[in-house]
Amino acid sequence: MAQELKVELEGVSKDAIGGVIEQEELEPAGAPPARVGFWVFIAGEVIILLSLIASAIYFRLTYPHWHETSTFTNVIISTINTFILLTGSLTAVLAHHFAFADAWKKARRFLLLTMLCGLAFVGMKAYEYSLEIHHGFYPNTDPFWMFYYTITGIHGLHVFAGACILFGVWLYVRKTKSKYAVENAALYWHFVDLVWLYIFPMFYLT
């Protein structure tokens, strides 16, 4: 075989060299690492939230007053919040759609809208907490409120983190135009949305 190119790698044995190859022949056919890595991360997050929910169900089986305590939660605010999150999911999907259609101006606008939904949710949730604390329901009041504050609190933190991620991506894609950054931000948003769809019936509609 004609050795038309020099091996710029010191300290390799000659037997190890097999020939010459075009750069194009090496392109890995698999999924992009950013996508795989993020799905793996989401898998971990799902299990954290799932374990908390499972623990709540485990406690609920032996706690007789779960149902009557749950009637003190604010169904109106939480329903509005549910709609805010679902609206955010719609805008996240649109951001993803426009990013992959290379309409970056629209994509970034929808990213920002999704972020605003996240902030609105967190604001409403904070207001709801203040009402509950005002009525004398604390995390250590009983098992229901204990799980209520822990799980919705962690979920709220996730929504806030999601808003931060969306803002970060909004800045990041301005120059890089990274489709996968938008995809992952949208994915994260759907994840927090999905978790809420478990939390909502569990604490408000039970």
Partner: protein, 568 residues
């Protein structure tokens, strides 16, 4: 990027190069191992001559010894160190999938180690409730131990360590799935890579429930909730924490076990000059054992007040998990049959580790069967059993791997004779400190007591403790000599000429020793064969070939743009 262009800080401290990060993990792990070893020496001294330490200091040292050896030695060395150093080289990639995340993972780990060491010295002292952090000891630190700050910092350190290892785990999984070079299908991956992949998945799936448990624990400490604490008005459930902990804790053992098996599975074929006995069997048994490991956790809780009917099922699954492990150990043993074995230093270590795994595995069976465990639980039998598994993993297998890959990683040699003596002495002293534990356990010696004072029926066994302690001293001294020699050899060892000193087949041996930044220069490895094509008694032997490297390096043609740039 050449060395001249990058600053020292970027090249050695905040590097994103997988090899530098791997070495950082390795050396940090070594440092923490010294701390863990010193703690062991200290509390073993107290067991040999009671009164050297106060009872609470004894418990504190035992707690830190266990946590350090698990989270700050075994995991960073076997996953952070070996994983980072080997995965890109063995799959023919230039770096990990997320190099910056990788660097972040290491530095989070460093912070966690610093917080852990700090937690030991704060007022009130470090946490002393055992590495299992069971509530109420951990959830009500004021009420029981008076170590409020120490407990919180301890929990923070563990949380940071988990965060670091999760970042690493996500990186490992994404890298192995997406960055394999051309021709490297899943069933051509070297066994070490399979084991790293399975370990990373197990860690991700098992540590996450414990993170949820840690949230609840933190709420108990800071917000006064009663998830795990029990008071007159509120009934929490401390057993729930045990469930969440052991749902993590048992797979966690396999998280470090699998990379250790991977090391042995790499060393055996290269030193027997025969293909691995059954590659696919080892992969599938590891996967099956990994799945089963999520169904056995409550065998750690047989005496904790769980439902006896569920104990039956956990016993059944625990005994069932010994089937895939028995098969994988048998397959490893069969890989030695008909080989032409070279007793190099790594091979001596690997054979030693293999033998010790058998003791560790077999003594697990009486602990997994709940009728027997009611007697053995919380005795020295358990201590001896898990040292036969975990010490074998974190010390014997890891050092076997160090001897094997040292020439590749550092471009220098470790002395063969030194390595063999190191192995033999380590095995003798190790058995000297661990094996008598089985008999102490059979005699009914409970663990976690600072002295035999309470137990008159055990006073006649004090001499056994003295013997175990002397063995511990000698074992620690042996490792100390090795640690000094190891550091010396990194800088002053004899340089290796041959990039493939063991005549091994996998891709990392194609690269120069040590591999440059981005590993392959202007070439790229392409895989053409299965990972262990050695010659003994096969077709290759008939052709007169000793071994067939898994792939070859191909020189990359420059694109037109690059050519122009060079000419211009």
């Amino acid at each position: 990027m050449s060395a001249a262009e990058t600053s020292w800080v970027k090249q050695y401290l905040f590097s994103t190069d997988h090899k530098v990060i791997g070495k950082q993990y390795l050396l940090t792990g070594l440092f923490m191992a010294l701390i863990g070893g010193i703690l062991a020496v200290a509390f073993r001294t107290n067991l040999a001559s009671p009164g050297v330490l106060s009872d609470s200091a004894y418990l504190r040292l035992v707690t830190y010894h266990g946590s350090i050896m698990f989270f700050w030695v075994a995991m960073p060395v076997l996953l952070g160190g070996f994983g980072n150093l080997l995965i890109p080289l063995m799959i023919g990639a230039r770096d990990m999938a997320f190099p910056t995340l990788n660097m972040l993972s290491y530095w989070t780990f460093v912070v966690s180690a610093i917080v852990l060491i700090l937690s030991f010295f704060v007022p009130g002292g470090g946490f002393s409730g055992g590495w299992t952090i069971y509530p109420p000891l951990s959830a009500m630190p004021d009420a029981f131990l008076g170590e409020h700050l120490g407990t919180i910092l301890f929990l923070l350190a563990v949380a940071l360590e988990f965060a670091s290892m999760l970042m690493g785990g996500v990186n490992f999984i994404a890298t192995i799935i997406t960055m394999r070079t051309k021709g490297l299908s899943f069933f051509r991956l070297p066994l070490m890579i399979w084991m790293q992949l399975i370990a990373s998945v197990l860690f991700l799936l098992s540590v996450t429930p414990l993170i949820a448990g840690a949230f609840m624990l933190m709420m108990d400490i800071f917000a006064g909730t009663h998830f795990f604490t029990v008071t007159a008005e509120h009934t929490g459930n401390p057993i729930l924490f045990q469930h969440l902990f052991w749902f993590f804790g048992h797979p966690e053992v396999y998280v470090i076990l699998f990379p250790a098996l991977g090391i042995i599975a790499e060393i055996f074929p290269a030193n027997t000059r025969r293909p691995f006995y059954s590659y696919k069997t080892l992969v599938w048994t590891a996967i099956i054992a990994g799945v089963l490991s999520f169904l056995v956790w409550a065998h750690h809780q047989f005496v904790a007040g769980i439902n006896p009917y569920s104990a039956i099922w956990f016993s059944v699954f625990t005994v069932a998990i010994s089937v895939p492990f028995s098969i994988s150990l048998v397959v490893m043993g069969l890989s030695l049959v008909n080989g032409s074995i070279r007793f190099t230093a790594p091979m001596v270590w690997a054979v030693g580790a293999y033998a010790m795994f058998i003791i560790g595995g077999l003594t697990g069976l009486p602990l997994g069967a709940f009728t027997a465990d009611v007697y053995f639980h919380d005795t020295y039998f358990v201590v001896a059993h898990f040292h036969y598994t975990v010490f074998t993993i974190a010390v014997l297998s890891a050092i076997a791997g160090l001897y094997y890959w040292f020439p590749k990683w550092f471009g220098r040699q470790l002395n063969e004779t030194f390595g063999k003596w190191h192995a033999i002495l380590t095995l003798i002293f190790y058995n000297g400190f661990a094996f008598p534990g089985f008999f102490l356990g059979l005699a009914g010696h409970p663990r976690r007591y600072a002295s035999l004072g309470f137990f008159e029926y055990l006073h006649e066994y004090q001499w056994v403790h003295v013997m175990m302690t002397v063995s511990t001293y000698l074992l620690f001294a042996t490792q100390l000599v090795f640690a000094v020699y190891f550091i010396y050899a990194i800088f002053k060892g004899k340089k290796v000429e041959d990039p493939n000193p063991w005549k091994a087949t996998t891709l990392e041996w194609l690269a120069p020793s040590p591999p440059p930044h981005l590993n392959w220069g202007n070439t790229h490895p392409i895989v053409e064969h299965d990972p262990y094509e050695y010659a003994v008694n096969g077709e290759l032997k008939a052709k007169g070939i000793d071994f067939l490297p898994q792939g070859k390096l191909y020189v990359l043609k420059k694109s037109d743009a690059e050519k122009q740039e060079q000419e211009g």
